[in-house]
C-alpha cells in the first residue's frame, strides 16, 4: 500500500460504520407512487415538460434543463403523472416535484449504449453526461458535466475519485466500491477521458482496507488516506493527494484538479455504457434509531419512510432524522421526503447518539482553531457574528467556511459555531448585494 496521507487539522468523530458496512446493497423496487423532485441538483430547478395524466416511460425526461448550472430530470418508472406540486424536500424546504403512479420499472435505456466510449469524442461524452442528468453523488449535487467543462485557459491534469466517505455512519460509497468496482473504475476512466487527463487515482480512507485492496487488485491507483474528518472535503482531499492548496475563493480546477465522487463515476458508467440516465442511487439507512441498518439501491422519488420500513422501522429511542451524515446532514421533521440524486444517507439518531448539550459561552480554548481544516478562527468569527460585526467576521475569513462542522464538533462549550458562521456568510453576501 502506498504512503498514507492526510491534511492538517480535522477531528476524529467515532465512525459507527460497522452498523451498516457489512450489509450488502439491497435493491428496493420503485414504490407505487414516486415523488420526483425537479431540483435534485445544485442550481436552477428543471422545468416540468409533462403534465397531469401524461403516460410516461422510464428514463423519459420530465424536467428540462433550465440554465448552465442545471440538469434535466428523468422519470425513474413507467407510469402516469398524477400531479406536479410542491412537496417537502430533504433540504427542509419545499420544492416542485412530479408525482408519478408507477406501473412498472423496466426499460429505461433511452440513449444509445456505447460499447467503447473512446470511439466517441470528449464533447459527445460530456453531452451524454449532461443529458443523463448526472450530478455529484457525494452530497453537493453539483452538475457533473459543468465540472467536466473547464473554461478555456484552465488546464486540468489530475482527476481524483473520492471514495473517502469521511462522514461517520455512512457506508454507501464503501459498499458500492466493494460490490460494483468495475462500474466505478470504468466511470473513472470515462471521466479521465472527458477531461483529457492521464493522471487519475482514487482516494480511500484506511478504515476501508477491503475496498483499498480490491481497487488495487483491479489495477487502480489507490491513495490510502488517514481516517480524519473532513478527509473527503474536496480541498482537503486534493491537499492530501497532490499537496496543492485550492486558492481561497477558488475552485479545484484553478489548480488543475477535478474531484468526483465514486457514486458519480458509477452513474457516468450507467449513462455512457448502458445509455441509462441517473435514476437510482445507493443510500445508507443507519443509526441507532432504526432496527436493522442497511444499504439500499433505491430510485429517486422513493420516500425516506419507505427506506426506514425496509430497515425494520424505527427503534423506540429515535429522536432525530437526518438526510446525509451526522456532520453536515440536514435534520428533518418528517420522513415523508423523497430520495434525490444527492441523498447519501438517511440517519435516524437516538437521544444518546444525537447532540444533546446546551450551548455555553466560548472559553477560548482554541480547539476549533486547531481543528479547522481551512485554518480559520471559528470562535472569533462566531463572536463577531453574534455581535453582528459582519465586517470583522469577513476579515476573519468567514466566507471561506465550508460548514464541515469540525469546529462545532470539537467545541467543549457546545457552541453552534457553524450556524453563526453561516449567518455571517449570509449577512456579508446580502450586504454586498446591497452595495452592488
Amino acid at each position: 500500500m502506498a504512503k498514507v496521507r492526510t491534511f492538517r487539522g480535522g477531528t476524529h468523530p467515532p465512525g459507527h460504520k460497522n452498523l451498516s458496512s457489512g450489509q450488502p446493497i439491497r435493491r428496493i423496487p420503485a414504490p407505487e407512487l414516486v415523488i420526483v423532485p425537479l431540483c435534485q441538483h445544485l442550481g436552477a430547478p428543471s422545468k416540468p415538460v409533462v403534465s397531469r395524466g401524461d403516460r410516461i416511460l422510464r428514463g423519459q425526461e420530465i424536467g428540462a434543463q433550465a440554465g448552465f448550472i442545471s440538469l434535466p430530470t428523468h422519470s425513474p418508472v413507467n407510469g402516469t403523472v398524477k400531479s406536479i406540486e410542491n412537496v417537502p424536500m430533504p433540504h427542509r424546504r419545499t420544492g416542485p416535484a412530479v408525482l408519478i403512479e408507477t406501473e412498472s420499472e423496466d426499460g429505461g435505456q433511452v440513449f444509445e449504449p456505447w460499447d467503447d466510449f473512446r470511439a466517441h469524442s470528449r464533447e459527445e461524452l460530456i453531452e451524454r453526461v449532461k443529458l443523463a442528468g448526472v450530478c455529484g453523488m457525494g452530497g453537493a449535487s453539483f452538475p457533473t458535466y459543468v465540472k467536466l467543462s473547464p473554461p478555456p485557459g484552465k488546464c486540468i491534469d489530475t482527476l481524483i475519485l473520492n471514495g473517502v466517505e469521511c462522514e461517520p455512519y455512512l457506508t454507501a460509497d464503501h459498499r458500492l466500491m466493494l460490490e460494483n468496482p468495475d462500474d466505478v473504475i470504468l466511470g473513472m476512466e470515462m471521466l479521465a477521458y472527458a477531461l483529457g487527463v492521464s493522471d487519475y487515482m482514487i482516494g480511500i480512507e484506511v478504515n476501508k482496507p477491503d475496498a483499498i485492496k480490491l481497487m488495487e487488485a483491479k489495477g487502480c491507483r489507490v491513495l490510502p488516506l488517514m481516517v480524519s474528518y473532513p478527509q473527503g472535503a474536496e480541498k482537503q482531499l486534493i491537499d492530501a493527494a497532490v499537496g496543492r492548496e485550492v486558492p481561497a475563493g477558488g475552485l479545484p480546477m484553478d489548480i488543475g484538479v477535478v474531484v468526483q465522487n465514486v457514486g458519480t463515476a458509477a452513474a457516468v458508467t450507467k449513462a455512457v455504457r448502458d445509455g441509462e440516465p441517473s435514476l437510482r442511487r445507493i443510500i445508507t439507512v443507519t443509526g441507532g434509531g432504526v432496527v436493522s441498518p442497511g444499504n439500499y439501491d433505491a430510485c429517486t422519488g422513493t420516500l425516506f419512510s419507505r427506506l426506514i420500513e425496509e430497515s425494520g422501522g424505527y427503534s423506540d429511542e429515535v429522536v432525530r432524522l437526518i438526510s446525509g451524515g451526522p456532520m453536515m446532514g440536514i435534520s428533518l421533521y418528517t420522513d415523508e421526503v423523497p430520495v434525490t440524486k444527492g441523498t447519501s444517507g438517511v440517519l435516524a439518531l437516538t437521544g444518546a447518539e444525537a447532540r444533546d448539550v446546551e450551548e455555553g459561552p466560548c472559553i477560548r480554548c482554541g480547539k476549533c482553531v486547531d481543528a479547522c481544516p481551512l485554518r480559520l478562527t471559528p470562535n472569533l468569527i462566531a463572536l463577531a457574528a453574534e455581535n453582528q460585526r459582519w465586517g470583522m467576521a469577513e476579515e476573519y475569513g468567514a466566507l471561506n467556511c465550508m460548514a464541515c462542522g469540525t469546529c462545532s464538533y470539537v467545541c467543549p462549550s457546545g457552541r453552534y459555531l457553524v450556524h453563526y458562521i453561516k449567518k455571517a456568510q449570509d449577512a456579508i453576501r446580502a450586504n454586498r448585494g446591497k452595495e452592488a
Partner: protein, 376 residues
C-alpha cells in the same frame, strides 16, 4: 417501533465530542491536586485550609453573582470558580490569616470575572487579579507571611532553621538557603542589592567594603545556584507561595493536562523558554552568566506557566499568538525579577499580557487555507 409525530430539529453537526467545559475545568482541578499535597506537606494543614476556604468562597461568590444577575446558577458548579479559588490560594503565602483568601477570592470572582460577564468573558486572569488586589491592599500580610518549609511540624526546633535566617549567614550555610522562610527569589534580589551597595561603596572610595559586599553577594548566589538548592526547589522544600513550590508535582499535573489534551504546549514552553533564555543572558551580574535553571525552578513561573499563562479564557487562541504571549510574559517576568521592585514578576507579567490578548489574536490570525498574499 412507533414513529414520532415529529422529529426534533437541530443544526448540523448532529453529533458532538464528549469534551465539555466542565470536564476541562475538573481536569485542571485534578492537575492542581499533587501540588496541593506538597503544599500540605511543607506548610501544614493550614495550607490546605486556605485552599479550601478560597475555593469555597469563589464558588459561593459565583453563585451569589449569578443569582443576583438572574442567570442560571448551575454555572457556579462548572468548575471554573473552583479553579480560580484554588489558583488564588496557590498564590498566597501560607502564613496569611484565613480571612485573606476570602477577600481575595470574592474580589477575583466578583470584579475579575462576573463583572465582565462571567465565564469566557473576563479579560484578565481572575485569580491573578485577586492576588494583585491583595498585594496592593494588604502588602504586609502578603509579604510577611512566608513560612519556612516543614516549620509547622517541628515547631520551634525546626532543624532547618526559621525564616529569620539572616542573609549574611546564608553564605556560610550553603545547604540552608532553601530552607529559609524567605523565598529564594527574595534572597537573590538581596544579592543584587548587595551588588548595588558595593558599587556605591566603590564610588565613595571604600574599596575594602566594596570587596566584602561583592564577595558576599557572589557567595550567596553561588549557594543559590547549586545542585542542593535545585533539588530543594524541585521537590518544593523552600519558602514561597503555598502552591508554587513543588515544581515536580506541578509538572505531574501539567503532564496530566497534556495527556487529557487540555494543555496546549505552545504557551508554557514559550513562556518558560523565554524565562530561561532571559535568565541566562541577563540574570547574572554580567552578561550570559545567569542561571536559567534557578530562575525556572524558583518563584511561580512553573505554576504560572502550566496553569495561568495557559489559562484558556485570557490568552490567545491562535498558534502564533500563543507563542508571542509566552514570549511577552516571559520577558516581563524577567524584567521585574531583575530590575523591578518585586522579587517575582510572574503574576504581573501575565496580567499585563492578558490585556494584549485581543490584539494578539487579531494580528496573528492564521493564513487561511489557500490564501494568497495579494499585497506582495
Amino acid at each position: 417501533m412507533a414513529k414520532p409525530a415529529r422529529f426534533e430539529l437541530g443544526m448540523s453537526p448532529h453529533v458532538v465530542s464528549n469534551q465539555t467545559t466542565r470536564k476541562i475545568m475538573f481536569d485542571v482541578v485534578i492537575a492542581l491536586l499533587p501540588a496541593l499535597a506538597a503544599a500540605t506537606w511543607f506548610f501544614g494543614p493550614k495550607a490546605l485550609f486556605i485552599v479550601l476556604i478560597s475555593a469555597a468562597t469563589a464558588v459561593l461568590a459565583e453563585y451569589l453573582c449569578l443569582k443576583f444577575m438572574k442567570r442560571p446558577v448551575s454555572f457556579a458548579l462548572d468548575g471554573s470558580a473552583i479553579v480560580t479559588g484554588m489558583l488564588l490560594a496557590y498564590n498566597l503565602p501560607s502564613g496569611v490569616p484565613l480571612w485573606l483568601p476570602v477577600v481575595g477570592a470574592a474580589f477575583a470572582i466578583v470584579v475579575g470575572k462576573q463583572a465582565f460577564g462571567g465565564l469566557g468573558h473576563n479579560i484578565v486572569n481572575p485569580a491573578l487579579l485577586g492576588r494583585a488586589f491583595l498585594v496592593a491592599s494588604f502588602p504586609v500580610l502578603m509579604t510577611a507571611g512566608w513560612m519556612a518549609p516543614e516549620q509547622w511540624r517541628y515547631e520551634h526546633d525546626n532543624p532547618f532553621g526559621t525564616h529569620a535566617i539572616a542573609v549574611e549567614e546564608m553564605a556560610a550555610l550553603p545547604e540552608a538557603d532553601a530552607y529559609s522562610g524567605a523565598t529564594p527569589l527574595n534572597v537573590l534580589k538581596q544579592t543584587f542589592d548587595l551588588d548595588a551597595s558595593a558599587e556605591s561603596a566603590r564610588s565613595q572610595g571604600d574599596v575594602a567594603e566594596a570587596g566584602i559586599l561583592g564577595e558576599r553577594a557572589s557567595s550567596i548566589r553561588a549557594a543559590l545556584y547549586s545542585v542542593s538548592t535545585y533539588r530543594n526547589l524541585l521537590i518544593g522544600r523552600r519558602g514561597g507561595c503555598l502552591g508554587e513550590t513543588s515544581v515536580i508535582l506541578l509538572l505531574v499535573g501539567g503532564i496530566y493536562l497534556v495527556m487529557r489534551r487540555v494543555l496546549e504546549l505552545r504557551l508554557p514552553l514559550s513562556y518558560l523558554g523565554t524565562v530561561a533564555l532571559f535568565a541566562w543572558i541577563f540574570g547574572g551580574s554580567g552578561w550570559f552568566n545567569g542561571d536559567p535553571v534557578f530562575h525556572v525552578l524558583s518563584g511561580g513561573v512553573v505554576l504560572g506557566g502550566i496553569f495561568m499563562v495557559s489559562d484558556m479564557v485570557t490568552t490567545p487562541v491562535t498558534p502564533r499568538g500563543r507563542i508571542i504571549f509566552g514570549l511577552g510574559a516571559g520577558l516581563i517576568t524577567m524584567v521585574i525579577r531583575r530590575w523591578g521592585g518585586y522579587p517575582e514578576g510572574c503574576s504581573y507579567s501575565i496580567l499585563l499580557m492578558n490585556l494584549t490578548t485581543p490584539l494578539i489574536d487579531r494580528y496573528t490570525r492564521p493564513k487561511v487555507f489557500g490564501e494568497v498574499k495579494n499585497d506582495g
